[in-house]
Symmetry: D2
Subunit: 304 residues, 4 copies
């Protein structure tokens, strides 16, 4: 009965996600929550000033957790990206943990029982921590994870090989952090394996894909458009029970941790994780990435 | 033959406008221009990371004026809003003038002959200055002007009277600045004159409408979502030769200045300015606002 | 929790409405129901062939009433337009009644408790009959009614006066049938009363507005695009609790019948009917139209 | 400078394509052409009745070839599908040829120099005939071809294997007719080869994919939603110079005929045809399909 989305943490990412939701008419009710006094309300007003130019309508509400009881999706973009130092997303561990510690009991108290999509970093660690904090099925908690790295890889490959990004497939996997990697064995351009292309230069492409985020970050000190688009796609996949595959962060029982790998998303959150057929080297990179996540998870737990 | 939009000045407003253009598929080519080194390129990359989630395609190019030769529309959001002091948009006169002085000869050199939509403030003064600097017909140069104030008034009225913003009509007029005013005689709610409603409290509504922008500004130090939506609506009206009415800034021969008043927009820019039937008091406010614009225009000219 | 729309009666109107729902991503689940064997299933397949080109997803199901238990909206386009003779929508009384008699108990059995939007003709009579047959609040049952006539009037006025249809406001009222009329006192062009315009030729415009539907009907033997667009707008207004005004068919207690007049639509169906200020002549036309609906309702009841 | 699309032949497919163009705001000007007196005008009116519910604007014009001088794309859906007998699309050779003979000189006289997308059947034969009749580069003339069969295959695979259609890739190739085939070696589900899946039952899937169109056709006597969606996607790819791959009909120099195979589409029409790596059996099927097209082309030429 109608669509409700919550966005918790109205920084650059949260508000761009909110704008995308409103301007595309994705939700019937949008609840924007931020701990900074007056902030969610100011952004609510700015977003509402755009309603006059749309032919959809979204009820926008600021800072009311109680409306999240029936939310289909809550997107979590809390924390404080400004603490990132030296190009390491893990500097955010402390602020993200604090933001989750603040939001989780409020979500529980509200009776939220939908799907939580975490954007905040370190994403995979945050997903696991959310799974610990909320009394929901593990499948109801996912993170954008390497879906963003994947979009960046596709963009980099598309630019380098002069094709449309829609015709580049395949995945970046692992930690949404420095240990993420492109599983080149999965990447196809125009439906052919990219590795078979005479134009394929793995080192250059890997570099372009990996550096994409930092190139944006170094100028803007945040990135918001790619991630907001992905978060909305994932939210829509949940609401419409689409069963679409995203290389996002979800629990991998083999490694005992939430990590970026192909995940079929629908109403229940994770529907399934289709099997991957990686090369030996890719498996090693994935395992290394899982270890990195575990180490960071330990750092987070050590904060208690 | 296809749609090209240029956005000059990629601050918060320019980039949100660009995101809206890309995510809604409004342009076939989007040219993003900024004087800050590396900036337009970083935003271009971030926007391109969203292409993987869209089913439209926009070629995004950074800093290439030559592509504006065939642009349908150039949206100008240059200048530096951070100079605003004491709630006065006119503090931007100097930085906006400098940005226009930089961009205008480059647009001329590129052979641009489409419609320029100015967002930069002080908007009405900037529109006039653009008309002086570019060798285009005056009708090809317009500004968002009081279209934004109008949307804010409609939002405020809709919230106060518990109706949908789509059912609030009427205009804010004059300078896009402190002297703008709501022409309440034009405002209708559910097709009835708002002044006839027992719920109409002019002072409260006027205050809510006038303060809307500042409330957002005081928290964020800029406003971007409402204005980006309006700029895109106006660009679309130009490209599709829609002949739609916007209360935006265009030349008013009676007052000899560009000022916010109902303007029919199409391929040629201004198609016509439908006659207004204001009350005597509203006419006085409009005249006062025109005077204010002229004073500020004199300040701008004095900078030479 | 997510959006479900049912469409009952998959003729030209029903299927075009369904296409619009799917292609704009308005519903998460779309249930298409038709009594003709194999028909809804064939249309479902054709619609699903379009999913590959969209970036939204709609689950499309054929002929399953049980899914309507949680439907936000059911759009009813049953009946058989081919029986229309001599330009009189009332020839459809018999076939529409039969279609409602078939569908109503099935909807009740399914436990449907959302909002029903009737498109089938004679629309106002059908709305009243639905109110009799379903155990729902009268406010939950509305019809597109003169919303379509209104769109046609606006289109005719826009074409005649060379303005954009978005800048024509006002209503056609009464029976969605031959006795409907344009309430010219409500019509505004560019926010000014149309009657004050030197270009206003009531007779010509009224004729153009009235004949619009028949001109299309005489060629195609049905009309589908305008009505499908309106039905979707109304469904969206319900789902998003928009509180928007449509001149659609809803109950008018003063006349004791459902009839086309301004109706604020939201989650509960009819939220309210804002007061109209018509001229004496318009009031008479409205009363006459109400009488016509009552006569036709009597004809429908006489069929039992 | 703005987007113009022409649609020639306003039957079920042409008008649904037109509706999609208008309702999604894909064109600034839409020119609808039909030889049947009054027909294009009636459909134009019906489409215009939907403008009141959109926030985009399209100028819709009936039967004016002269406006096609600057058209970006002309979609040809002329001919008469009702002549199809015994499930053979080639029955349309005569009526399609006559429709092309009528339209081609008018397009030439208008000075059309954009991209022509043929929908009419037999599609591959019609594409070749268009290439003979128009004084344009062969790359400017393409047909939807097996793009539609491909969407049907993807839908059938998605339904059978319980995945989202967005996660099924690969192509149907050859004649858009009975000799078309699914190149299963190209088909991937969730990025894995479909043939490696334990759930893959080639015979069943091939049958479901092949029969899709006829199942719809047998009920409706035409199919329109899938094909209209594809035609619009292809038109958009041309206008935005997207360089996207469609398995549509374009010239294959190796076989000397236009035939459904992967084609990169952009502003110039065909940008390139990426190499295919088919199995020996698939190559044979493709060659057989090319022969079939040649035979039908000979039949068409024999009509002169």
């Amino acid at each position: 009965m109608a669509r409700t989305i919550g966005v918790i943490g109205i920084g650059h990412v949260g508000v761009t996600t909110s704008f995308n939701i409103v301007t595309k008419g994705l939700a019937d009710t949008l609840v924007m929550i931020d701990t900074k006094p007056g902030w969610a309300e100011a952004e609510r007003l700015d977003l509402q000033d755009s309603l006059g130019g749309l032919n959809t309508y979204t009820r926008i509400v600021a800072n009311d957790y109680s409306l999240l009881r029936d939310a289909d999706v809550v997107i979590f973009s809390g924390g404080d990206i400004s603490v990132i130092k030296d190009g390491d997303r893990n500097s955010e561990i402390k602020t993200t943990k604090a933001a989750i510690d603040d939001a989780a009991p409020k979500l529980t108290a509200a009776g939220f029982h939908g799907v939580l999509i975490d954007i905040s970093n370190p994403c995979d660690v945050a997903v696991t921590y959310w799974q610990e904090k909320l009394d929901l099925h593990r499948n109801q908690i996912i993170g954008t994870g390497t879906a963003l790295d994947t979009y960046r890889m596709r963009r980099a490959v598309a630019e380098a090989m002069n094709v449309n990004v829609a015709d580049v497939r395949g995945f970046n996997l692992g930690e949404h952090g420095e240990s993420q990697f492109t599983a080149w064995s999965t990447v196809r351009v125009n439906n052919e394996p990219v590795k078979a292309s005479p134009d394929f230069k793995e080192k250059d492409l890997a570099e372009a894909a990996r550096l994409g985020g930092w190139q944006i970050f170094n100028a803007k000190h945040y990135t918001n458009f790619g991630i907001a688009t992905i978060a909305c796609e994932m939210a829509l996949a949940v609401m419409s029970d689409a069963g679409r595959i995203f290389p996002c962060s979800s629990y991998d029982p083999q490694y005992g941790v939430s990590i970026g790998h192909p995940t079929m998303i629908g109403r229940a959150g994770v529907i399934s994780n289709p099997p991957m057929h990686l090369t030996g080297d890719e498996v090693n990179q994935y395992a290394h990435s899982a270890d990195t996540i575990k180490e960071n998870l330990a750092k987070l737990h050590a904060l208690d």
